[in-house]
Symmetry: C2
Subunit: 224 residues, 2 copies
């Protein structure tokens, strides 16, 4: 069914979602294994076709729920990929999104929907189906740049965290080392986080102060 021959079919619309989380000190994305012909065995970013009565973003949220069992995480539109031959099954225009999850374990609940679904470090990705290499690159670039001029990193963090954990999150996403003292000075001056008064327990070494974000709303702020 090479979709574009009869009448006014224009294009079929789909969404693809790059779902980020930090797992074991790596920035990871969630991939599913394809079963469709042309790409059987390849990994791809989760996604699906849009229903006629459904807003585009609702479609992204629906597929995000299906893949990662997450329904209230950060989701932002990325880019619309509209080349004619990007899908060998027919003309499919894809609106891509990226999502940020504070906990990679979220998705474990109903993972039976897919043949296989796994977190992959962005430094060690398998070959991807369609133009999903481009989609993923786009997402990483957007995430990196947005991290430097907004507070969206809170979407990748648990409710409470240590300053070292927050610094590691920045380092992992930006892929560069930061100076501990300068980082703390800067992050504390931004009025984004506050100490909870509690400290880590049960871990080896000196306990660390636990912080939380004062507001979980996106703000535009010069971070780094």
């Amino acid at each position: 069914m090479s979709g574009a021959d009869k009448g006014f079919q224009h294009a079929i619309l789909a969404t693809d979602i790059v779902i980020f989380a930090i797992k074991e000190g790596s920035l990871c994305i969630l991939l599913v294994k394809m079963q469709k012909e042309h790409f059987r065995g390849y990994w791809a970013v989760p996604g699906g076709l849009i229903n006629p009565s459904e807003p585009v973003e609702a479609c992204a949220r629906r597929n995000l729920l299906k893949a990662a069992n997450a329904d209230d995480v950060y989701l932002e539109q990325l880019y619309t990929f509209g080349e004619v031959d990007r899908d060998p099954h027919g003309r499919v225009v894809s609106v891509s999104y990226y999502a940020l999850m504070p906990d990679w374990r979220f998705h474990l609940s109903n993972s039976t929907e897919y043949n296989a679904i796994e977190w992959f470090s962005i430094d060690d990705l398998p070959e991807l189906a369609y133009d999903h290499d481009d989609v993923v690159l786009f997402a990483i670039e957007r995430l990196r740049s947005k991290l430097t001029y907004s507070n969206i990193i809170f979407n990748l963090m648990p409710d409470t965290f240590t300053l070292s954990e927050l610094q590691r999150a920045y380092e992992v996403v930006l892929n560069k080392k930061l100076d501990k003292r300068n980082f703390r000075k800067k992050i504390l001056s931004l009025n984004q986080i506050a100490s909870t008064g509690r400290r880590t327990v049960g871990k080896a070494h000196r306990p660390a102060d636990l912080y939380r974000f004062k507001r979980k709303t996106v703000e535009i702020i010069q971070v780094l």
Copy 2:
């Protein structure tokens, strides 16, 4: 799971293009007067439906050529508007773009395609059809922010220009006054422009040095 089986109803795709130029010291966009019912008499951003065999960006370029007679200007995808009821004629998903023109006079050649087509200052816009208010706001915001971290302003400038003209371009887009001496110091330090050795002629007052951009390729640079 979807309307994939119901004769490919899904969505019709269109593009909308916010076309910018600086005219008489104002940042302006090109608008066309609607003739379709529901919005007869309203102004709207140029655009049109996508052909089945056409990449999305090609559709934007085709409509840009039709509206502004421009075929090699800067064009960048903005955002995809996918609400179900954004078009009263039916379900139309629109991929929006913005374009930058170095000369507002370009479009005068074949303006007979439209009922009416005019430049409007962004400070004095008429009521717009569809969700084009949102599209325009999005475009202005993107242009402003991109002006501060890249050199794309060259797409709004003629081949040669004075430093005062360049400064006014920044001021008009960013909507704020800049200090003349600091602006010159900064812009000259960025290695983006070079003196042509020529000066303005025929104008009143002291002649100004004419500059040109060394490279007309987009670069990411901290400007302001």
